[in-house]
């Protein structure tokens, strides 16, 4: 009897999950007010009659709760894999709030999920996860996703995961994307909290169109995948190392940094190919973006691609400078096999810098006018490293 009951329970849970496959929440520029709830459909006809209901800060079964209904959705056919994506746009959300939502079709209703929007008040506590490179090793990717789930439970102020690119090995293979999207479900907490995702393109996301479709960069008007995500007065400047560094992007970067700097934002660039790598040769960012970072005084930088944990000493003008220097953190440890970064003995890893072969995610916590960044590693409840950044006076 118990076996039959378990079987029926499993079957029913599969049927619900099958209806809302790869459920995820995406955030782009305005995570305080906007989010996209997205899932994958095997057939377009399954979209018919879909709707999303949501409430702010109150679960739907609570008294006097205001329930909002969205019946408008968009469905797009993916370039590869013969699947469809269904998206609900949640606009005009309340900042610094918990959004509870349910999706339903004429036949099925999902569980009650929730996620958090970013605060606008610069004094409100805020946390983000950073990481990159989850390709090639699904088992380790799941370990890291589980770690991030634990971090979300321990740090409820986490808003989203800001990803540094190279989610999968071959961006043209739907089977790899499918596995990655399945693995990302591991980040959903036991009380159904979803970790929203802020995307950046890595060099292995080779199919630009498919990447843009999957993360709705095409609809958002960010086809070239460089944009700013505003988390109160923290501006995450997401850059694309797959396209020209010197063309429109550099022009945009300079005007953006100038604007953000004059308005007193915390500025944290995030991109894939590193300027100060632990393992490989430096990317073009070193010559063409770093001078702008230094000119406008960005606070610190996230890089990916190298498959190693790194923290550089503060660097300014190609030298270590503890007053004006910028710390580069990275570089890709969300599942891909980690490389031994000992090659080359690079000068910028002298103390307090370091580099190790170690899977990792960064937890950024903004509180009381400073930002604390800790290095979180699997199989340990303690942070591997912690550092504090004070706001620069630009």
């Amino acid at each position: 009897m118990r076996t039959i009951f378990t079987f029926v329970l499993l079957l029913s849970s599969f049927s619900v999950m099958a209806e809302f496959k790869h459920l995820r929440v995406l955030m782009h520029s305005d995570p305080s007010h906007k989010a996209m709830v997205v899932y994958t459909l095997d057939k377009k006809k399954y979209a018919k009659g879909s709707e999303l209901v949501y409430s702010i800060n109150q679960k739907m079964d609570e008294k006097d709760v205001k329930i909002n209904k969205i019946t408008k959705y968009s469905v797009k056919s993916l370039k590869r894999g013969g699947k469809y994506l269904l998206k609900f746009d949640l606009n005009n959300l309340k900042e610094n709030s918990t959004v509870y939502f349910k999706i339903s079709t004429p036949n099925k209703t999902s569980k009650l999920y929730h996620f958090k929007t970013a605060p606008k008040d610069k004094n409100a506590p805020l946390a983000l996860l950073f990481g990159g490179d989850s390709r090639s090793d699904s088992a380790q990717r799941r370990v890291m996703n589980k770690k991030m789930k634990e971090l979300v439970v321990q740090n409820p102020e986490i808003i989203a995961l800001v990803f540094g690119g190279d989610m999968i090995e071959n961006g043209m293979k739907w089977s790899q994307w499918e596995k990655w999207l399945e693995d990302y479900q591991v980040t959903i907490t036991d009380d159904n909290r979803i970790l929203p995702f802020v995307p950046v393109r890595g060099n292995h996301e080779t199919d630009r169109k498919l990447f843009n479709q999957l993360f709705f960069m095409d609809e958002a008007g960010f086809e070239d995948v460089y944009y700013v995500s505003y988390f109160s007065d923290l501006a995450i400047i997401n850059l694309n190392t797959n396209i020209s560094h010197l063309g429109k992007q550099r022009k945009w970067l300079e005007s953006t940094l100038k604007d953000l700097s004059s308005k007193g934002y915390w500025m944290v660039p995030n991109y894939h190919r590193p300027a100060y790598p632990a393992v490989k040769s430096p990317g073009k960012a070193k010559k063409h973006w770093v001078p702008l970072f230094e000119k406008y005084g960005v606070d610190f930088v996230f890089e990916s691609d190298g498959h190693a944990l790194k923290r550089t000493a503060p660097i300014f003008n190609g030298e270590i400078n503890h007053q004006k220097g910028i710390v580069y953190l990275g570089e890709g440890g969300l599942g891909v096999r980690q490389r031994n970064p000992d090659r080359g003995n690079k000068w910028y890893f002298q103390s307090p810098g370091y580099t190790y072969s170690m899977h990792h995610a960064f937890l950024l916590r903004k509180k009381n006018g400073s930002i604390k960044v800790s290095v979180e590693v699997p199989d340990s409840n303690k942070s591997f490293d912690q550092m504090t950044f004070e706001k620069r006076n630009n």
Binding site: R135, S136, D166, E169, N170, G202, N203, H204, T206, N242, I243, S244, H245, L246, G247, K248, R250, K251, V279, K280, S281, P282, K284, K286, K287, H288, V336, R337, R339, N340, R343, G344, S357
Partner: protein, 251 residues
């Protein structure tokens, strides 16, 4: 006899720089050979690094042995093929599907001395260089951002201002068209020294853009591209030799 020795010396010098550039790359940063065995095949990192390093050092050993028997140049060609092939397998950069064809000049360059006949020598280099030009041309037409940045930077060095990306994309597109055209013309008019001379000039200039763009980090990429201009130079010498009535195999 004197010129034979000199040309042979030039070839070996070019080849030496090409091999050394790849070897330094292997030891300094690693290649996609190691990445493939480490990331895709699940080997231990030490083993995958050891494999590519042994393979790189073997190329130098084959180079030395080729002074004794020129057939040892064949595994050097295989060495360069393997670097390009695993780049293709690993992917992750613009034009990775075309990389073996785009790198054909580098791959076939060591084969120059393998053939006895000057005709075969010329053909192998010509096919390699033409393929490199044609497939780089295709990449340019597709808007390779690497080429775009090289152009924008070079323009900014000369004119002290950045051109628009739109204009640069259009120019790079037409540069690509001309690369394809010249690559095809070189195969048709294979005795035309002006066309082959242009290949040598353009191959040298585009290789030189790497150190101009990347500074010190561009020196190795420059030497990796030595065959892009060295092969046309050798083709010109072969053409001249084949025109000679008392033609004997050059080397």
């Amino acid at each position: 006899m004197q010129s034979k020795k000199m040309i042979k010396s030039i070839f070996y010098a070019f080849l030496f720089f090409q091999i050394m550039a790849s070897l330094i790359n292997i030891f300094k940063y690693g290649t996609d050979i190691g990445s493939y065995f480490f990331l895709t095949r699940g080997w231990a990192e030490d083993s995958s690094l050891l494999l590519e390093r042994v393979w790189g050092v073997s190329a130098i050993a084959f180079f030395a042995l080729s002074f004794w028997k020129r057939q040892f140049l064949i595994p050097i060609s295989l060495f360069f093929f393997s670097i390009s092939f695993f780049k293709y397998v690993q992917g992750g950069f613009f034009g990775s599907d075309l990389v073996v064809y785009a790198h054909l000049a580098r791959i076939v360059f060591p084969l120059f001395l393998v053939f006895k006949s000057d005709i075969y020598k010329k053909w192998v280099l010509l096919i390699g260089v033409a393929s490199t030009f044609i497939f780089h041309g295709i990449e340019a037409m597709m808007g390779n951002p690497e080429f775009l940045d090289l152009f924008i930077y070079f323009y900014s060095v000369i004119f002290k201002s950045f051109p628009s990306e739109q204009l640069s994309t259009q120019i790079i597109y037409w540069v690509g068209v001309s690369d394809i055209l010249v690559g095809v013309l070189a195969l048709i008019f294979r005795k035309n020294i002006f066309i082959i001379g242009y290949l040598a000039f353009w191959g040298f200039f585009t290789a030189l853009l790497r150190p101009i763009f990347y500074g010190q980090d561009g020196i190795i990429p420059f030497f990796e591209r030595v065959p892009h201009f060295a092969a046309p130079i050798l083709i010109i010498l072969l053409i001249k030799n084949l025109k000679n009535r008392n033609h004997r195999s050059l080397l």
